[in-house]
Symmetry: C2
Subunit: 230 residues, 2 copies
């Protein structure tokens, strides 16, 4: 199995790995000129390449074959999830949702969200690593944090659901139909009644993700699992 | 919401919290005599209780009401999963599967399992904490590690599946019927062909858990999610 590397600017001809990727190639994998590697751009393109030059800081490769793969799903999955107080849990969430399948992740700021600052660059790296680990070629877009109103203005899918423990809801699996989906997962304290009203008014349906009250990051992973079943 | 504590020997009348639980009650929650708490035994019983005496090491409570709840599922879920190299990932797996719903967890020793020693007491504590967190009254039984042959002799469900990336498989959701289920999740390197033959010969069907190749702990969480849908 070829080692996979990430190049967001992947195109035919040649590529220069980032310093981080070059460092991994040199110091961890001990690759050399002439070795073959795989390249991904996180948007479906996959290339095989041969290392031309390699040193501590740089790695230039020659692209041998470049293929654009189709999307993994016919309906895109956009997950908006409240960042957890412990950053590790949110990072776990991003990693697992990427493995299972998600197209866009928005850190969601709500009244009861316990953390407003996130390290987007770190979350992007975690998603890219998860993509490579599962040998796929799509990595989710990571947004900057935004509140519900901003999300509703930006989000593309018309099919919208929010996890709701407090009041009336139906099973996500009962409502889900083919096509693009937006799923909102609230903080540990749940969405407020006003937020639930705002969401319902804007076309989101309240859903349950199972029998139990789940932690935020667990609900996100369960939601992605259920949405990938279609 | 009442604070929940664990007492495996819960019965009517009185209870003495373990030293660990007493410490939490005193030093973290600052509870006092007269305070009300909830008690769980991990097997469906839930009691409300009043603290009688409390000090640094002990906490005695008087049981006010004791109820035995029904099982959460009509069909039990037995998960046998290869311990991961990084213990943290396996601990996440136990925590998340407990949140989502599982009755018995067996650390599974296979040819390619990357870790044979686990801390059963620590995993049990993690499962109990997850049970309390999700305010439910059932916590999975945790087994000592065992190999496939021993598992097949011990396991009760006749409906058996194993996650299988390498060869022919069907979607778990397509095969699953009501009733008790055993789901085996192999190590990062997958089950060997011989192990797959052994499993098939003993009535286990090879299943896929989705489109992607998942890490062991992710596959276990996805599997639990799908099995809890019935």
């Amino acid at each position: 199995m070829m080692h996979l590397f990430f190049d967001p600017d992947l195109h035919a001809d040649t590529s220069m790995l980032s310093e981080e990727e070059a460092h991994h190639a040199v110091h961890v994998l001990r690759l050399q000129a002439g070795d073959r590697i795989g390249l991904l751009n996180g948007r479906g393109a996959r290339a095989s390449a041969e290392i031309v030059t390699i040193d501590k800081k740089q790695c230039r490769v020659r692209i041998i074959g470049l293929e654009q793969g189709p999307p993994e799903r016919s309906g895109t999955i956009h997950l908006a999830v409240a960042p957890t107080k412990q950053m590790e849990r949110f990072e776990w969430c991003v990693e697992k949702c990427t493995e299972i399948g998600v197209d866009r992740i928005t850190p969601l700021l709500t009244f009861r969200t316990e953390r407003s600052r996130i390290r987007k660059d770190r979350l992007e790296r975690i998603a890219i690593a998860a993509m490579k680990q599962s040998q796929r070629s799509w990595s989710p877009t990571m947004d900057d944090p935004m509140d519900i109103a901003a999300l509703l203005r930006q989000a593309r899918p018309s099919q919208r659901y929010f996890g709701w423990c407090t009041g009336d809801h139906q099973a996500l699996t009962a409502l889900r139909r083919p096509g693009d989906v937006l799923l909102l997962i609230g903080p540990e304290g749940d969405f407020t009644a006003e937020e639930a009203d705002l969401l319902r008014t804007n076309g989101s349906a309240a859903v349950s993700l199972g029998r139990a009250r789940l932690r935020t990051e667990t609900a996100a992973v369960v939601g992605c699992t259920l949405l990938n079943m279609v």
